[in-house]
């Protein structure tokens, strides 16, 4: 293939202000991290709540949580994003709609859409992890806590959840990494995160392969780092004698 390689392209000026292409990547990485962390906070809180709801002995409550999971897990992420970005704002009342579309900074409105979308989508997946974590515990744990006179909320906060979270750290890590990777959908609604900056660099410089190689390396390094961090957390919180053992 007759390709003109130029690895120095990242240090060249983009022609926009005094920025180099590398500056674009750094800005993009910042947005990627911001989207992912914000969405992860929503996902973890809502996902835990839903996970607990799915295991409580109440048909209605667990039914609501199940319906949520099925809805958000079975619709493609991209479709959900377009619904949050294009459809939902049109359902707002007239005045609020004007404000959201016109006065609010477009980056902010795109950020809100993608964080809510990614947070709710990932919550469905976190919910399933939390549920399996709780269900993986021996039934005797709950029975014993009941026999000790614990209330339902005490059973969850003092007995079930502390153990369940330790068990599900590995699958949760994988969801955590997924949030970072899935944040790339934001590039399709004009939020200039890492992938959008990569595409822009590829288009402006016509050095497509260099642009995407750098993006690959950044995503890989970022996720590798997060994985190691989570492994550290797993070791740190492990309790000797419990099922979760953190690799050893």
């Amino acid at each position: 293939m007759n390709y003109n390689w130029d690895w120095g392209v990242f240090f060249k000026s983009t022609g926009v202000g005094s920025e180099t292409y590398l500056d674009w990547y750094i800005t993009g990485l910042g947005w990627t991290i911001a989207i992912a962390i914000a969405a992860w906070i929503i996902a973890l809180l809502l996902g835990s709540l839903l996970g607990v709801m799915r295991t409580v002995p109440n048909r209605l409550v667990s039914g609501i949580a199940t319906a949520y999971v099925e809805l958000f897990r079975n619709v493609p992420l991209l479709v959900q994003l377009f619904i949050w970005y294009f459809l939902i704002p049109d359902l707002l009342p007239e005045g609020l709609q004007e404000w959201y579309k016109q006065d609010l900074d477009p980056t902010t409105s795109a950020l809100i859409s993608v964080v809510v979308c990614l947070g709710l989508f990932t919550a469905a997946r976190v919910c399933e992890q939390v549920r399996t974590g709780i269900q993986a515990l021996p039934r005797g744990q709950e029975a014993a806590a009941r026999a000790m006179g614990f209330s339902l909320s005490q059973i969850y906060t003092n007995v079930l959840l502390p153990q369940a979270y330790r068990i599900i750290i590995p699958p949760l890590t994988s969801e955590f990494l997924n949030v970072f990777k899935n944040s790339s959908v934001a590039s399709l609604i004009g939020l200039m995160e890492l992938l959008a900056q990569t595409k822009q660099t590829a288009e402006f410089s016509a050095n497509l392969f260099e642009a995407f190689t750098l993006a690959t390396l950044i995503y890989f390094t970022l996720n590798m780092g997060l994985m190691l961090l989570m492994r550290l957390v797993e070791k740190k919180v492990s309790v000797p004698g419990l099922i979760s053992v953190g690799g050893k």
């Binding site: 007759n2 390709y3 202000g17 579309k101 822009q200 288009e203 402006f204």
Partner: protein, 339 residues
């Protein structure tokens, strides 16, 4: 059978060339050196073919021309929503449009030049991200759509003589206060990601401190959605594409193309870099359209008459810039031409 040895020879010599060129770019091998090497390799292949097989007419063909002749197939790269240049109007999987008509003329020209009347055409959809690599790696032989000829892209591919010239302008509501670029201070303005307009708009914002919020949508259709849904007050893009988007609107008469052109862009067809005989064939085909006046018919068909699928008329008369380009065809980028 006769061609097999020569084909293999060409294939392997090109493979080894790849490695050389990959290393070569680090050592800053000049393009000329690389071209010379390609020519030498291909000559070697041609000689080998001539020695091994009986001397037949294909012996002097090289590069894409040889590939097209030998395989009996040419692959055309096209777009799906560059109205009215290259887009889908029905479910046949074949594109239509101004650029596509030019592509068809190129194929007809090649049929004559190669003496291959039953040359088969294969269509390959490209996006703004895939079009350059697909031309480079040999998947697509010639891409005609709405690709601006610029200096950065010339490092990767060769452009045919220009097939169209546009100005980058604005699309806005007809009776709004947004008539030109200075009116956009502090407003939301949309453009399509990866286009020259995006670069111009961002530069203008930085240089003149206009405080615009620049939204980069993923394609022209989505940019127009942002405009129509009120997320942006104006849409900056190539004027001909703006006319195409306007024609798709719920009420086309609500909108107008306005503003001083910020740049002129020449569209060209992309071919593989350094394949001079093929580029010449493509150029000849396009220039023939210009000389015969056929181009005027093609222009009218797409810009001043109803076009599929909805039968809308873009009412976009030919600009002085395009008339000038047709009178004096060039394969230079618009800003190279001026300087």
């Amino acid at each position: 059978m006769l061609y097999t040895p020569s084909l293999e020879y060409t294939y392997f010599s090109l493979c080894s060339l790849n490695e050389e060129s990959a290393n070569g770019s680090i050592k800053k091998t000049t393009v000329e050196e690389l071209l010379m090497r390609i020519v030498r390799h291909l000559l070697g292949a041609a000689i080998a073919a001539a020695v091994i097989s009986s001397p037949v007419m294909a012996a002097e063909l090289t590069g894409t021309l040889k590939k097209v002749k030998d395989s009996g197939t040419i692959t055309l790269g096209h777009r799906d929503s560059s109205i009215p240049f290259s887009y889908f109007a029905d479910a046949s999987g074949k594109p239509v449009g101004y650029s596509h008509d030019i592509q068809v003329a190129i194929v007809e020209h090649l049929k004559k030049e190669l003496g291959a009347p039953d040359l088969k055409v294969r269509y390959n959809l490209v996006t703004s991200q895939t079009r350059i690599p697909l031309v480079q790696n040999g998947t697509v032989d010639v891409e005609c759509g709405s690709t601006t000829n610029n200096v950065e892209r010339q490092q990767q591919v060769d452009f045919s003589v220009g097939i169209f010239e546009v100005g980058t302008r604005l699309l806005a509501k007809k009776n709004s206060a947004y008539k030109d670029f200075p009116d956009l201070k502090g407003k939301n303005v949309v453009t399509t990601a990866g286009t020259t307009s995006e670069r111009l708009l961002k530069s203008m914002n930085a240089d003149k401190q206009m405080g615009m919020n620049v939204i980069s949508a993923k394609d022209h259709g989505e940019s127009f959605n942002m405009l129509e849904s009120g997320r942006a007050v104006a849409f900056m893009m190539d004027d001909a594409l703006l006319a195409g988007e306007m024609a798709k609107a719920k009420k086309p008469t609500d909108w107008e193309v306005t503003g001083t052109p910020q740049s002129y862009e020449i569209y060209g067809c992309m071919v593989r870099k350094g394949d001079a005989p093929f580029k010449k064939a493509v150029d000849d085909a396009i220039v023939a359209l210009y000389k015969s006046g056929e181009i005027n018919k093609i222009y009218d068909k797409w810009f001043t008459q109803p076009i599929p699928p909805k039968g809308l008329n873009l009412q976009f008369p030919m600009s002085e810039e395009l008339k000038e380009l047709i009178a004096n065809p060039t394969d230079k980028a618009a800003d190279e031409k001026k300087s």
